[in-house]
């Protein structure tokens, strides 16, 4: 069953010189218990898509299209319904736990605040549950940690506290925006293993935002590649390495240096990543694409179904990568 459905989402944000369109028609669906990975570079719109889902938008922005959660339109939710949606159905983890957790309150306050103020739990119930969830994310001596301040914990531990805070209640959808980007690789590995295990145990769905295609492919069922405010390719994570078709997806995979060998030269993508703000006729990636033809610069590509995915590329049906 579909838990979250985003249809033709557009977003205009306020800029000094007027308003600018940063999301240009995003479509996505998350099944109950499913996981999607939103991948892209700076300015692609992946974080704003997630913030739109949580209805946490920058002041002065205008949203178009539709976002439904269990069939309810998020934009049309009453304040009470919206509070219930955010406080008990959604969970959010961000890149920098130090910026997301109040530095002058103790870990225990942070963990129990939502349950006490929004869910109406008693102090003892919230506290007992906080001890349980800290233990569940592998933090030793949870009783003592409740009395610690965020500054006393390392980044990896603090991100575990963030994850623990999502376990206190039973959210149906986890929004994770670059949750391990600020962590060391070994910590990233264990934190992702933790998220993965807890998510599966609880049947919690996930929208995972990352700049790291390989990481997203390892923890998600479906990959959505974003560029300049649009989803340019959607495919099962297992197909990423062998069957991705969009020139941008392939170029991103090839631009990373390899761990198991050394090329003389990396296949860099020329130019810089475009954001949705750059109003382009035709395909937004065309200026950087080695396969672009005149038609690509004139015509905005629609989604073409390929296998069990979809690609926004006029040349999706051609075997661009077959020739040496």
């Amino acid at each position: 069953m579909t838990l979250l459905q985003v249809t033709d989402l557009t977003l205009d944000v306020a800029l000094p010189e007027g308003s600018g369109r940063v999301l240009r028609g995003v479509d996505l669906a998350v099944e109950q218990g499913g996981s999607i990975g939103l991948v892209g570079e700076s300015g692609s719109g992946k974080s704003l898509t997630v913030r739109s889902i949580a209805s946490l938008l920058p002041a002065g922005s205008r949203r178009g299209g539709s976002i439904t959660f269990e069939g309810d339109e998020v934009l049309g939710m009453s304040p009470a319904r919206l509070r219930r949606y955010r406080s008990s159905q959604l969970a959010m983890i961000f890149q920098d736990p130090r910026a997301a957790i109040n530095p002058v309150r103790k870990i225990g306050d942070f963990l129990t605040e939502n349950a006490r103020t929004n869910l109406g739990w008693s102090r003892n119930r919230a506290r007992d549950r906080a001890v349980e969830v800290l233990a569940e994310v592998g933090i030793s001596d949870p009783e003592r940690r409740l009395k610690a301040y965020p500054s006393e914990l390392s980044g990896g531990l603090l991100q575990r506290v963030m994850i623990a805070s999502t376990l206190l209640y039973e959210p149906q959808l986890l929004l994770a925006d670059e949750p391990t980007t600020a962590l060391d690789v070994t910590t990233q590995s264990s934190v992702m293993a933790l998220i993965d295990r807890l998510r599966r145990e609880r049947g919690m769905a996930m929208v995972f935002v990352s700049h790291d295609l390989e990481l997203a492919a390892a923890v998600c069922d479906t990959i959505l590649v974003m560029y300049a405010g649009r989803i340019v390719e959607q495919l099962p994570a297992g197909d990423l390495y062998e069957h991705s078709r969009h020139p941008y997806t392939r170029a991103l995979l090839q631009a990373r240096p390899r761990l198991d060998g050394r090329e003389a030269r990396l296949s860099a993508i020329p130019g810089q990543p475009a954001s949705g703000l750059e109003d382009s006729t035709g395909c937004a990636f065309a200026p950087r694409c080695r396969f672009a033809i005149d038609q690509c610069r004139a015509e905005t590509p629609l989604v073409v179904s390929v296998g069990s995915g979809g690609v926004r590329c006029l040349r999706a049906d051609e075997d661009l990568w077959g020739a040496p």
């Binding site: 070994t186 590995s189 293993a193 492919a217 390892a218 810089q272």
Partner: protein, 262 residues
């Protein structure tokens, strides 16, 4: 083989009770490229900062181009000598450039140390821009109007201004988007080929280190736990810590949490 450019012998750095770097020794060949790999708190950045004189070692010896650099230079000519030996490029191109100084000013200031004439400075500025692939018009631009990748090119150009024999690159591509990171890595390879400059590449990213270095040292808690040719160390890591680092990198068939499959 020529004499090494950098010789670090038994470096140690202590802050209060905390030993940040302990008994670290390595050499960087003239024209060579050494990777220093490790995670937060491994001491890799402290080593980089000691090499360029931003930190003073508690004990141990640093020799650059045959000169002892373990202690601060006595006078400006001593500092100038060192500036010609090693320069550093930092991680964050947003905070490493003065926001109120235009790019031309930043490059001229670095060149000014060399005591060049006005026309020589102008010619060298243009040479530097060409070397890092930036158009002339950025000379009048402030850093705020440039992208992250362009700023990092400026930082590299500024570091190369004194024609140093070695560059210390401290996580210099970590903050860049993947597509831009590849451009800068190719640029660094070109610059090394063109100028013969040596690199000390400090990074947590094993794939990046593999791409730009010949030799590597792996640091953990202030110590070097493994060293060797980069390819050999990454293909056949001997130390359990290096093995764990290697196993933590996502890729085809990877599962988080230590299941290794590549």
């Amino acid at each position: 083989m020529t004499a090494p450019l950098v010789k670090a012998h038994s470096l140690r750095k202590v802050y209060g009770d905390f030993v940040a770097v302990d008994d670290v020794s390595f050499e960087v060949a003239a024209g060579g490229s050494l990777g220093i790999v490790g995670e937060s708190g491994s001491g890799k950045t402290t080593v980089a900062r000691m090499l360029v004189g931003l930190e003073r070692p508690t004990s141990g010896r640093i020799e650059v181009g045959g000169q002892d650099c373990s202690k601060p230079a006595r006078n400006s000519s001593g500092r100038w000598d060192r500036a010609r030996n090693l320069q550093i490029v930092f991680q964050d191109p947003y905070s490493s450039l003065d926001p109120r100084q235009n790019i031309g000013g930043a490059l001229r200031e670095a060149l000014g140390v060399a005591g060049l004439s006005k026309s020589e400075t102008q010619a060298r500025t243009e040479e530097l821009l060409a070397l890092v692939g930036l158009p002339r018009r950025v000379l009048d631009a402030l850093p705020a109007t440039l992208s992250g990748g362009q700023r990092q090119r400026v930082a590299i150009a500024r570091a190369l201004a004194t024609q140093p024999r070695g560059l210390i690159l401290d996580e210099s591509v970590a903050a860049l988007d993947v597509s831009i990171q590849a451009q800068i890595l190719n640029l660094l390879a070109d610059i090394r080929e063109e100028t013969g400059v040596s690199y000390v590449f400090v990074s947590h990213d094993l794939a990046v280190v593999r791409h730009v270095t010949d030799h590597v040292v792996v640091m953990k808690s202030g110590n070097i736990v493994e060293r060797g040719e980069t390819g050999a160390v990454l293909d056949h890591p001997q130390h359990p810590y290096t093995q764990m680092l290697r196993a933590s990198v996502p890729g085809p068939g990877w599962v988080p949490g230590g299941g290794v499959n590549r």
